[in-house]
Symmetry: C2
Subunit: 294 residues, 2 copies
């Protein structure tokens, strides 16, 4: 904890956008992450949304592009943004592809060498990082989780695997069924090996049938998303949720693509959805969505 170093600090919407560097024990490497602290954090501990980014992103993309700080400052909501993979390691082939290795940790715990020595992003984003920021910064242990694409997959598996850690979950254009998507198959084959039984616990569409939890999930998906049919497959997840009576709302947003322009357009709906679940006062709700706070 004492080695966590503040890299930068900028005032934004009355709060502070912070960036930190630290050494992660579960990843065994140096990492960076971002935290937005709303103005309310000057006086009291605030709940936090954990945002998991997509392929090729770092901890900075959401911070710079999503425009989330404006409403987060009104709601009194912190936003924690981890990086998308271990960094500074040089495993064989780690930096060759944009959709595998660095920038593509898939928020799972790898079991295959050499990846298993570092690629434990699930433990990092659900355990190590929350413990660190909740000890170091004025954050409560009330958490929500969301993310985009690969990070949407991450948010779904976090919510399904460990729903006691989160009060609400949502995703933008998530990879819903990685065992059936080229991105997911490539990543899981390397990180988890060829036995597809080992993939089940990291695949939201398969997980939802085996878990007993009922944390409602909100998904926004653009209809003009170039990855919709081959990589994302929200219909598969929806079918699985229907089969197991898992609460889910999928909003198909007409004409939106896979970019941050899509995320920016709907992030406020998600922030209000999470704020309600986290017990914050939502002055101007523009959505009828109700998250389960139990």
């Amino acid at each position: 904890m004492t080695t966590t170093r503040e890299i930068s600090r900028s005032r934004i919407f009355g709060g502070q956008q912070l960036r930190f560097a630290h050494r992660s024990s579960v990843l065994d490497c140096a990492m960076t992450f971002g935290v937005y602290l709303p103005p309310q954090a000057e006086y009291e501990a605030v709940p936090a949304l954990y945002w998991l980014s997509g392929l090729t992103c770092t901890d900075e993309n959401f911070v710079v592009k999503a425009g989330a700080q404006r409403l987060a400052s009104e709601l009194g909501l912190a936003i924690v943004c981890p990086d998308t993979s271990p960094r500074g390691t040089d495993l064989p082939g780690e930096h060759d592809d944009w959709d595998f290795g660095s920038g593509a940790g898939f928020y799972i715990n790898a079991t295959e060498a050499p990846w298993s020595a570092h690629y434990n992003m699930y433990d990092y984003v659900t355990r190590e990082l929350p413990a660190l920021v909740e000890a170091k910064l004025p954050l409560t242990d009330k958490r929500s989780v969301s993310g985009h694409s690969m990070g949407g997959h991450g948010a779904l598996i976090c919510a399904l695997k460990d729903p006691q850690r989160y009060l609400s979950a949502s995703a933008f254009a998530p990879i819903c069924h990685p065992s059936e998507s080229p991105w997911g198959i490539k990543a899981f084959s390397h990180y988890l090996g060829d036995d597809r039984n080992a993939w089940r616990e990291w695949d939201a569409t398969q997980l939802v049938s085996s878990v007993g939890t009922q944390l409602p999930i909100l998904i926004d998906q653009g209809t003009a998303d170039e990855f919709l049919g081959e990589e994302l497959k929200p219909g598969n997840f929806e079918q699985a949720c229907i089969g197991t009576h898992h609460p889910l709302e999928v909003r198909m947003q007409g004409g939106y693509d896979h970019s941050y322009y899509f995320i920016a357009s709907f992030i406020d709906d998600h922030l209000r959805y999470h704020a309600r679940a986290l017990g914050l006062v939502v002055v101007q709700p523009n959505s009828g969505l109700q998250a389960n706070t139990g």
Copy 2:
């Protein structure tokens, strides 16, 4: 006009973020620019804010980082974002420094060789680009102008040199007195030569004393801006405005730096300020500022 090519189009907040490539005649090179069209532009021509970016930026920084599309879509305001210099030329030393040459056109018309063959950004942003977008896209000839840092300087000189073209003007952390700032002196020496009399018509603090126009100007400036004292000098401009009774409001924003986090925090105030001047309905004003619409 017929050679203007659409590079990309993404839906955002119900409108469209567009990017174009074209060949500029006044710059004699290929250029790119961005246009945000709000949803209202599907049915009628809308007024436009011209945004001039700062040193090292392209036409994309504001589009991606400022978060302006959310309120622009409510107001029915288009936003036109030119690049910051000619591109694709290879003049001697043009790409050596981040604060001069490419990415640093300073929105003036150069008179010195070899710059004068291309570096005519003033004519580009005030004449050629408006004529192009108003002919090609559903934009009216009602215009406002704003910008950041070098682009804030650009917005000030556009408003002071040709106030009939704009209904309102504002700036974020503008270089107010380039003849007395290291950035300005370096650029003006190369683009305009060593005779400082030729600099006067491109220096807002000097211009304001010699023009008879009274287009009100709004400036936001962060107090933690690392360039405030040496490069920006808003006090010099304020003194000149007081001397000539030019309407000006300078808001010193406590703790904000020079980054896009600062711009994002206050862009909504500026959009409402311009929208009022442009005759748009501003449903939820949060500022008492009134621009002169005459």
